[in-house]
């Protein structure tokens, strides 16, 4: 599958599960989008756990951006901020096009707190990290599982339920919005695998 087809499929399948998909060309563009989404959603707290380790160069930019837009930025110790987080900003580790799935290595507890307890989850996923289907991802996934402890999350859309009269309702426990920002340019740093 060519890259353009893969991205197209990713977009199509993610949108099929109500994920909002956009293409971005840089980390700065992604961060700007995340802050705007926060403000548009009436939020004023953004958590970006793990960003410092993965994309140290982006942190000063985000700090400045949040400061200028009046958004509180949280980077760690998120247990102390449960209930406050509006937006979780994460860098996805992989994605699976066939099911529109974001794969997030979530051993880090702050990362879990942010992606589970926020109202909106904004994830960036570099194009090079998209795999066509789950079985194609299996060898890489196996390597992750073989190095415990690990908490690996497949996320396909926003939290949902149909437990009352089978009416689909979004946002029962987790975020009620998932944004997937497909990063067309590979950043210099490799995501850990």
């Amino acid at each position: 599958m060519g890259q353009a087809t893969l991205v197209q499929k990713m977009k199509e399948k993610a949108e099929a599960v109500q994920t909002r998909v956009a293409l971005v060309r840089s980390m700065e563009e992604a961060l700007t989008a995340a802050v705007e989404i926060t403000l548009k959603g009436g939020g004023h707290v953004l958590a970006a756990p793990g960003l410092g380790e993965r994309h140290e160069e982006a942190v000063p930019f985000l700090n400045e951006l949040c400061r200028s837009r009046g958004v509180d930025l949280l980077m760690e110790n998120l247990r102390g901020h449960m209930g406050r987080i509006h937006t979780a900003f994460t860098v996805g580790d992989y994605a699976i096009a066939e099911t529109g799935t974001l794969v997030q290595i979530s051993h880090d507890e702050d990362l879990r707190m942010a992606t589970m307890l926020s109202e909106t989850h904004v994830a960036v996923i570099p194009v090079s990290r998209i795999r066509p289907h789950a079985l194609a991802f299996e060898p890489e996934m196996l390597r992750i599982l073989q190095r415990p402890p690990s908490y690996l999350a497949f996320i396909s859309g926003a939290s949902r339920t149909a437990d009352i009269e089978r009416v689909l309702t979004i946002g029962v426990h987790g975020p009620s919005e998932l944004h997937m920002l497909i990063l067309e340019e590979e950043p210099h740093e490799e995501a850990p695998s």
């Binding site: 690990s150 339920t161 437990d163």
Partner: protein, 720 residues
């Protein structure tokens, strides 16, 4: 605690009550239709049959080695800081979990959905021990608040209306809830349960997989509650049955491809979580989670060695067998299961919750094969249900009178046919000059009056065969007719139509006189030995060397001959090769006309009646024949008009309609409504059992729709 009627009488009372619940009927009917559609969409572009075969093969390869897989899982998980426990009984499992809670000074517990925990009634135990347990899956929380068990494995509260939920939540919040604001009620749950997560000291989850090669647990949810349950509290206990062990990640991913598609028609559930080892947890000991995995045996390891029932352990708990079951659709899971519901529930209840709870409901199966056709792991559910029924009869020693009579009569063909002839004479007082009984015999109560019953034929087919069947000089083919009891003794005219038609096509038809009942009724009543004996007798009556084909007008007989005889006669020495030869030659009428005789439109009249079709269960699923009957109708000049749910059972199910007339009547009513909606003048089907049911039902409606066996309408349409 849930209670399930231990005897047929109280079970039937419960079923009658369930049928009065209009909300349940409407909601399950809508769900059944929606499910079929969304499942089909979800599998688009995927080879579902191949996937089912792969999963079945994988499960069958793993089941004999569950103990070894467990050891491998344990060593990997323990190396990663997890404590692994084994519970032999439900009580042991509950006690292990309570003691983990006690030793961690836990008071409040949050729980994500687990059928295994339902199996052990874990919540009841923990609450008795003084712990406060909160279910966090919305459906589970609702039924917990109501003190009920789930009525579906995937949608536990599907039996409840928005109004009932609103009343319940009004009680919980002290604020009046609007039943039509479902999103608002979901927000109530979000708010209330957030607090529970934060306060809980322990989280209990189930698991969909335990991957032996890595010691990983896989959890699938849509709501995301399992993520919170396994993250926020410092202690995590996962509880699962041994059958959730898979050897490797690849096997788990294969099941993941199937499970959401088959369960809810989703390509994937929103959250799939893979946990390996004790992860970071700020409030846990040494900054890590205290993590425990409890494997429940409760008979599974014995079941794994059972030559017949090990197959039940393939189940991945998708709930599809309930979704397509015509009986589940009418009465829901609280009336069609104990803890586990639907077809797999009828089987597992016996093994996990005992004979008492399985005894009555195991009889409640139409053998329509709908469950088998959608099972994610290819379990032959209807067969296992019959096997459980048989096991219970055997263990209890005392057989119902009808089983005793059946065994006595069916094993002796002459006696059986003698009695049928006598019965034909005896019925004259209830007959009214027509072909149906206007008054049912005394042993039927009013509940059976939903359909009229046909009279037995004055002269059975076998007694007039030699006069009616012409001997052809140089036939192109020789075909044996396997009549089956209904064609022989009730509807000989169907065979007469065939005789006429075949003579015109130069096909020599013969009726081997030693043939008897195919034995399916015996198997359905749990009488396998009788079924085996009549199978042998039929096999010997059909001299395979003389016939090119064996044709049956009864889809049930055909599918029983083809599918069950090889199994019933396994290890019978000479019979085995004979069965193989027979199976190849068995065919249904439509397939024979299309594929063997290759009939063409010019042989038929044009401008035939507007025709609806009912696809018999044992034709479309038993024999996998779906295209030919429809092709034949069109080709023979009939105006075939598709109707809704054409391949859903008509509710006959042989003795089922006698045992459960209230259910049979409802299933039939829906079938006939769909037929009438088409505006057809004729309803065609390929099975005399369906003819009996459909014709009897339409007669009671005083409908002008004529019911015909395929062979009759084709003979009518032929240019002579």
């Amino acid at each position: 605690m849930i209670s399930t009627p231990p005897d047929l009488k109280s079970y039937k009372t419960q079923l009658r009550r369930a049928l009065q619940n209009e909300f349940l009927a409407t909601t399950l009917r809508t769900f059944a239709s929606a499910y079929r559609l969304s499942r089909a969409n979800a599998f688009e572009g995927l080879d579902a049959t191949h996937l089912v075969e792969e999963i079945a093969r994988g499960k069958d390869a793993a089941i004999p080695y569950l103990q070894e897989l467990f050891e491998q899982f344990r060593s990997r998980a323990e190396a990663a800081g997890v404590k692994v426990h084994v519970a032999r009984t439900p009580r042991e499992a509950n006690e292990i979990i309570a003691s983990i809670a006690r030793s961690n000074d836990v008071r409040k517990i949050v729980k994500s959905k687990s059928m295994t925990a339902e199996e052990t009634f874990l919540n009841d135990h923990l609450e008795k021990e003084g712990f406060q347990v909160t279910e966090t899956d919305l459906g589970e929380w609702i039924i917990q608040l109501r003190g009920e068990g789930p009525s579906h494995m995937v949608m536990p509260a599907i039996h409840l209306s928005r109004k009932e939920v609103a009343e319940l939540f009004t009680g919980v919040t002290g604020e009046v809830q609007d039943p039509d604001d479902i999103a608002g009620m979901v927000q109530v749950a979000r708010k209330e349960l957030r607090q529970a997560y934060v306060e809980a000291h322990m989280g209990i989850s189930g698991a969909n997989f335990a991957v032996a090669e890595t010691g990983t647990l896989g959890l699938i949810t849509n709501e995301g509650n399992a993520r919170l349950v396994t993250t926020l509290p410092p202690v995590h206990v996962a509880m699962l049955g041994f059958e959730k062990l898979v050897p490797d990640l690849r096997s788990a991913l294969r099941i993941l491809q199937m499970l959401p598609r088959n369960a809810t028609g989703q390509a994937i559930s929103t959250y799939v979580t893979w946990i390996t080892g004790a992860n970071q947890c700020a409030t846990g000991p040494d900054g890590r989670k205290a993590m425990h995995v409890v494997f429940l045996d409760n008979g599974r390891l014995t079941l794994a060695r059972d030559p017949v029932f090990a197959e039940a352990l393939r189940c991945i708990r998708c709930g599809a067998c309930a979704n397509v079951c015509p009986i589940y659709k009418l009465v829901g899971g609280h009336n069609y299961g104990h803890v586990y519901m639907g077809a797999i529930g009828l089987i597992l209840t016996y093994f996990y919750h005992g004979r008492e709870n399985a005894r009555a409901m195991v009889k409640n199966c139409l053998n329509c094969q709908a469950c088998k056709s959608v099972c994610a792991s290819g379990i032959d559910l209807p067969r296992l249900i019959r096997e459980v029924h048989r096991k219970i009869l055997k263990e209890e020693g005392t057989k119902p009178v009808k089983n005793v009579i059946l065994n006595l009569v069916l094993r002796n063909r002459r006696l059986f046919h003698f009695l049928l002839r006598r019965a034909s004479l005896a019925q004259s007082p209830v007959a009214s000059g027509e072909r149906v009984m206007r008054h049912l015999p005394f042993f039927f109560d009013r509940e059976h009056e939903f359909r009229s019953l046909p009279l037995l034929a004055g002269t059975p087919l076998r007694d007039r065969w030699n006069q009616v069947n012409p001997s052809l000089e140089n036939p192109r083919l020789r075909v044996a007719l396997f009549g089956g009891c209904l064609v022989d003794f009730v509807y000989p005219e169907q065979a007469l139509a065939l005789v006429k038609l075949f003579a015109a096509h130069d096909v020599q038809l013969e009726y081997p006189m030693e043939q008897t009942c195919c034995g399916l009724p015996a198997e359905m009543m749990g009488e396998k030995e009788t079924a085996r004996q009549v199978a042998l007798q039929n096999l010997h009556s059909l001299d395979m060397s003389r016939f090119d084909h064996i044709l049956t007008l009864c889809a049930s007989c055909g599918s029983h001959l083809k599918e069950s005889y090889p199994r019933l006669l396994e290890g019978e020495g000479d019979a085995e090769p004979m069965v193989r030869g027979m199976v190849e030659k068995v065919t249904d009428f439509s397939s024979f006309m299309i594929n063997v005789l290759q009939v063409s439109p010019r042989q038929f009249q044009e401008g035939g009646a507007k025709t609806a079709y009912h696809s018999p269960c044992h034709l479309c699923r038993g024999l996998n024949v779906t295209g030919e009957p429809r092709e034949l109708l069109t080709l023979a000049g009939l105006e075939y008009t598709p109707s809704r749910d054409e391949d859903v059972c008509c509710g006959f199910g042989g003795s089922f309609s006698v045992d459960f007339p209230m259910l049979s009547a409802e299933i039939l009513r829906e079938k006939l409504d769909h037929t009438e909606d088409t505006g057809a003048d004729v309803l065609v089907t390929d099975c005399p059992g369906c003819v009996l049911q459909l014709r009897g039902g339409l007669d009671k409606r005083n409908s002008s729709i004529r019911v015909k066996h395929m062979v009759e309408i084709i003979a009518e349409q032929k240019k002579w």
